[in-house]
Subunit: 101 residues, 2 copies
């Protein structure tokens, strides 16, 4: 039985560096994360106030996330993000989904 | 032309109050948000460490979000969330979407 999880990284950044952060996240997703086993999807969100970026990645299991975090190529991108921004990564589960009524 | 936006509320909470916060967000979504014009979808995420909840709502436009924030019923739920948690709401746009390669 699979237990899908969502990895969300809430990343605070100086507004002037939001474009650089977005480029870095796109590069890491394309070169590393999108190749990793267990990945379902990644969505990157940029805040209109330019102070935050959200990285929302759906995975087949928490074990897939842990294995990716231990991968040296992924860890390299984590360090590069930490050099220009403040990241708060975490594992989440969906507790509600709604459509218009 | 529509310019869809994503409203994300990053909400920090004491772990003991995460269940209460989730129940409150579910109630507000069901009773108020899901009835609002322009809503596309809402997803609620609970962090595994119990310290955070994310409310991710897709809307047809920023104007729909502003009209909802001005709605007294929605504002009532915003106040109830603020009484038990620390909310950081913001408007976001999708800057990247990826599937496995």
């Amino acid at each position: 039985m699979s237990n899908p999880v969502t990895f969300v990284n809430v990343i605070d950044v100086e507004p002037s560096q939001q474009p650089e952060l977005i480029d870095l996240l796109k590069e890491g997703t394309e070169r590393v994360i999108s190749q990793r086993p267990g990945l379902i999807s990644v969505t990157l969100f940029a805040s209109a106030d330019k102070r935050r970026v959200l990285n929302v990645a759906r995975w087949e299991s928490a074990a897939d996330v842990e294995a990716t975090q231990a991968d040296p190529a992924a860890a390299g991108y984590t360090r590069r993000v930490a050099a220009i921004a403040t990241a708060r990564p975490g594992l989440y589960t969906v507790v509600g989904e709604y459509a218009p009524q």
